[in-house]
Assembly symmetry: none
Homo-oligomer: 237 residues x 2
Amino acid sequence: MSCPVCRGPVRPSPRGRRPVYCSRACQARAYRSRKNPPVPAPAEPEPTGRRRQIAEAVWRIAAERGLQMATVREIAAEAGVSPRVVQYHFTSKHQLLVTALQILHRQNERQARRRIGALRDASDPRVLLRSTLEELLPLDDERRASLRVMTAYYARSLTDPALAAVFLPEEQPLEDLVAALITAAGARPGIDVRREADLLVSGVTGLGMDLLHRRRPLADVRRTLDYHLDRILADRP
Amino acid sequence: MSCPVCRGPVRPSPRGRRPVYCSRACQARAYRSRKNPPVPAPAEPEPTGRRRQIAEAVWRIAAERGLQMATVREIAAEAGVSPRVVQYHFTSKHQLLVTALQILHRQNERQARRRIGALRDASDPRVLLRSTLEELLPLDDERRASLRVMTAYYARSLTDPALAAVFLPEEQPLEDLVAALITAAGARPGIDVRREADLLVSGVTGLGMDLLHRRRPLADVRRTLDYHLDRILADRP
DNA sequence: ATGTCGTTGATACGTTCGTATCTCAACGGG
DNA sequence: CCCGTTGAGATACGAACGTATCAACGACAT
């Protein structure tokens, strides 16, 4: 209950943390003597990805336990920080949720572009189209988790304009891309590329949700997809 | 090469034409649904009274403000009863949410059957098929609200086995119905009815979600649906 | 040596949550 | 007439929620 430097009395504060030192001078002196005998330096691996680190905690909680379990205290524990740190880096919980969705949204887009871009040179347009569509399916743990998070956010966005704004602004670049890929791969005569792209994209979305629920085996989805690609695309020589 | 009825494997025959169905029973079932498309009895009426009154309050709150706003006190206020009454008629909040989902699920099915059944006599199979698919779209306030509620529940069911159990147990009667309706309306040669039904149902589900978000105009969805029905079904005389 | 600034720790505040408890009115059969 | 059962009101309780407050910290500048 006394100042560890000058042994003098410490005035208690009416609120918040109890003071340790009796004055700013004693605090500085304690700091200096603590630093002079230098410790090997614990070396922090984290530069300052605090906001991202916290956002990732939101994703994990939302994917595993649902968005309603993403409380400030849970998020902080999952991120390995104190609740105060969450509070500091995001002005409110709502803003945190919106930001976490924005980051995930951008990352998904970048990830998909990267994966598809890797195939662009080496393979034929049909493989490219198929990969683009499969990008929407929960084919590995990462995409499954991401799809679960996006699903939770989608439901909440129906009653939260700030979240809806993250989903909406773009005007259907995915459908455009799929339509372009169909054209590039060569459509059979009589095929309306736009309408086929519309049903393919929304259909793969729906099939992905069935996969999440395990309401349908993956092989079945693959077979359905193959059938429709065969149907739409002209035979290769 | 699987049975279009039960999806099981088909044993090839040593003589003659390759079998399409895995058993005589499946062949007969396909014939029956081809001749007389399903849409069975209107089923039993829903329970009335306090429990239903409270369940409806849950739906309204979930549709308008989201499932996370459905607290016991809010539900009671929306239903016009005291919180104690909610507590009395449902042992816990979780059981209330599950029950509300079950009732809505059954009601949706009954409603769809009724609406489709009304068309059964007067119109041709193509109209029947189209109406069945449009039943999944938010075409009026009632269906829009219902779809919003079901979407919220779907998201939560990913992390709640009791809710998932309401969605899962049935083995794809909707896809079966659509497949039967396609067969009844007359498919073009080369069409795989099963695969078409799969993509149609999941596609309409995805398009319905786009409609909820207003990410896509209704006329666009209607045109996409028309295109695919034209593509699948043989021309009528 | 002290000041500044971005960051974090510990705790407090006021509210709302789901649920439990206690109470009473109405009713029907013995 | 008593008494057990059913339905519902009023209120309490402990936990968890989002957020607020302020001292302490560590790096750097002066």
